[in-house]
C-alpha cells in the first residue's frame, strides 16, 4: 500500500513535470531553441495566482485564468524581445540569452515580490480514502493527474487535427517550405510560445498546490527537471514529453522513498544518462534531419 501511495505521488509530480516539459518540447520543436527561462515563467504564474487569491480575494479559478493570461503574454513578449532578433544567430548565443532571461525573471520577481517565501494557499481540499482507509489520495493529486491527461489529449488533438496545429508541425519540419505554403512562421512561433507559457502557468499553480512553498527561484529546479524529462522522452515529441515527465516523477519519488532522499536528483540524472547512452534521441525521439 505504501508503494502504491508512492507510485501515485510519483505520477502526480510527474504530471507537473510533463506539463512543463510539453512547453519545452513544443518550443524546441518549432524554434529549435532551449528556452531555459521556461521554468521561471512557471514561477511568475504561481505568483500571479497567489496574489489574486491572497491579496485580492479572488476565486482560485479566476486566479488561475489570470496566471494563464499573464504568462501567455509574458511568453510572447519574451520571444519578441529576446529571441526573435536572434533568429539567425548561433544556438549558443540564443542559449546564453535564454539563461539571461531566466535570471532577469528571477530578479524581477525578487524586486517585485521579495525573496521571502510565500505559503501558497490551499485551493483543493481533502482526500479520498480507498481500501478501507489504508490508501489515502489527496484531491490535489487527482486534479493534477487529470489536468495533465486533459492537456496531453487536447494538445495532441490540436497538433494532429487542426489547421494551426498542422502548420506548427510544418514549421517544425521545414520553415522555408512552410512559408511557400503561405504559413506565417513568425506568427506560428509566437503561438507556440503562447501555448507553452499558458501551460507553464497551469503547471506553476498545480505545483504550488502540491508543494506550497513559493519564492523567486521556485521555477528553476522543476524547469531543469522538466527539460530533463523532455530530453528523456525525446525532445520535440509531445508524447515523449508526457512519458518522460511521468517517468521522471515516479523515479524521483520511488528513488527518494526506497534508495535515498539525498540522492533522488542524482538517481534521476543517472537514469537520463543511461537512457541517452542506449538511445541518444530519447525514448520517443526521432532523428533530427539537419538541413545543409
Amino acid at each position: 500500500m505504501k508503494f502504491l501511495s508512492n507510485l501515485i505521488n510519483g505520477i502526480s509530480l510527474g504530471s507537473v513535470y510533463a506539463i512543463i516539459a510539453l512547453g519545452y518540447t513544443m518550443v524546441y520543436g518549432i524554434a529549435r531553441m532551449l528556452n531555459f527561462a521556461h521554468g521561471d515563467v512557471i514561477m511568475v504564474g504561481a505568483y500571479i495566482c497567489f496574489f489574486a487569491i491572497y491579496s485580492f480575494n479572488l476565486n482560485p479559478v479566476i486566479g488561475i485564468l489570470m496566471a494563464v493570461v499573464v504568462c501567455t503574454v509574458l511568453g510572447v513578449v519574451i520571444e519578441k524581445l529576446a529571441y526573435k532578433p536572434l533568429r539567425q544567430a548561433t544556438s549558443l548565443a540564443v542559449l546564453i540569452t535564454a539563461i539571461g532571461v531566466s535570471y532577469f525573471l528571477q530578479n524581477m520577481a525578487q524586486l517585485l515580490w521579495s525573496a521571502n517565501p510565500k505559503v501558497f494557499p490551499t485551493i483543493i481540499n481533502g482526500s479520498i480514502k480507498l481500501f478501507g482507509g489504508e490508501l489515502s489520495i489527496s484531491r490535489t493529486t487527482i486534479v493534477i493527474v487529470l489536468v495533465c491527461a486533459l492537456i496531453v489529449v487536447g494538445l495532441s488533438i490540436f497538433v494532429n487535427h487542426t489547421k494551426m496545429g498542422k502548420a506548427m508541425r510544418a514549421c517544425s519540419e521545414d520553415k522555408e517550405a512552410a512559408q511557400l505554403m503561405g504559413i506565417n512562421v513568425n506568427k506560428t512561433i509566437s503561438m507556440t510560445f503562447a501555448i507553452g507559457s499558458a501551460l507553464a502557468a497551469i503547471a506553476g499553480v498545480l505545483m504550488c498546490c502540491a508543494y506550497p512553498n513559493l519564492q523567486p527561484t521556485t521555477g528553476s529546479m522543476p524547469g531543469i527537471k522538466a527539460f530533463t524529462a523532455a530530453v528523456f522522452g525525446g525532445i520535440g515529441s509531445i508524447p515523449g514529453a508526457f512519458i518522460g515527465g511521468i517517468l521522471l516523477g515516479v523515479l524521483e519519488i520511488l528513488g527518494s522513498a526506497y534508495i535515498s532522499t539525498e540522492l533522488k536528483d542524482a538517481i534521476v540524472f543517472l537514469a537520463l544518462i543511461i537512457v541517452l547512452l542506449v538511445k541518444p534521441t530519447g525514448i520517443l525521439g526521432k532523428k533530427i534531419h539537419e538541413k545543409v
Binding site: A167, R169, D174, A178, Q179, L180, M181, G182, I183, K286
Partner: protein, 236 residues
Amino acid sequence: MAAMLEVNDINVYYGSIHAIKGVSFEVNEGEIISLIGANGAGKTTTLHTISGLLKSTTGSMSFMGTDLMKTPADKIVSLGLAHVPEGRRIFQGMDVEENLDMGAFTQPKSSIKGNKEIVFEHFPRLKERRHQIAGTLSGGEQQMLAMGRAMMSNPKLLMLDEPSMGLAPILVDEIFEIIKALNKAGTTILLVEQNAQMALSIASRGYVLETGRVVLEDEAKNLLNNDSIRKAYLGG
C-alpha cells in the same frame, strides 16, 4: 499587355558571394518557360528570390501587377504563384493527405476537396497512398507529392525546380507528361532544369543562366539547335 511574371535586373548575395548578377526575364500567361544552366548557375537562387525566401538588393519583380519585392514569402502563394522547391521539401513526417492540406493552407475549406480530386486525377498514385507517411514514399512519388501539394493552392503560375532530379528516365517522362498536361489545363509553368534537352522540348521559350547571368534567351526550338548550347548542355 504586361507579362504575368516580370523579373528585372535582380542581384542576390549570400554574404559576400554574388550569386545573381542582374538577371531579367519574363513569363507570359499560358507559356512554359524553361530556365536552364549548369549546377551552381543560380537557378535555385532565382526561384527563391521570386518566392521571397531571398531578397534582391536591386531591380524589380512583379507578378500579375503585384510588386514581389514588397511581398513577404508567406503571402506569395495566395497571389497564385506556387513553388515546388529543389529537393521536393515535402513534410516527411506527415502523411500524403496532410501534405496536400498544407498546400491548401491559404485556400477556403470549400475548395480543398475539389482541388484534391484534381490532384488525384493527375497523380493516381498519390490517391492510393493518401495515408502513407510522406518520408516513406519513393523519390518519384515524393516529386509527385511536391507538385500535387503546390497545385492545391490553385496556382496560375507554377515554378518547378529540377523536378527530374534523381529520377529514373521512365519517371522523368511521366513527370514531364504531367507538366504538359497541367499547362494544357491552364497553368503557366516556369521550369528550372539541368536536364536541358527535356526542359526545352516542352518549353516555348528558354533562358540560359551562367554564373548568375542570363547569357542567352530564345525560342526553345532555336536553343535546341544552337551549337554552343548543344555542346554545353545537350551533350554535343
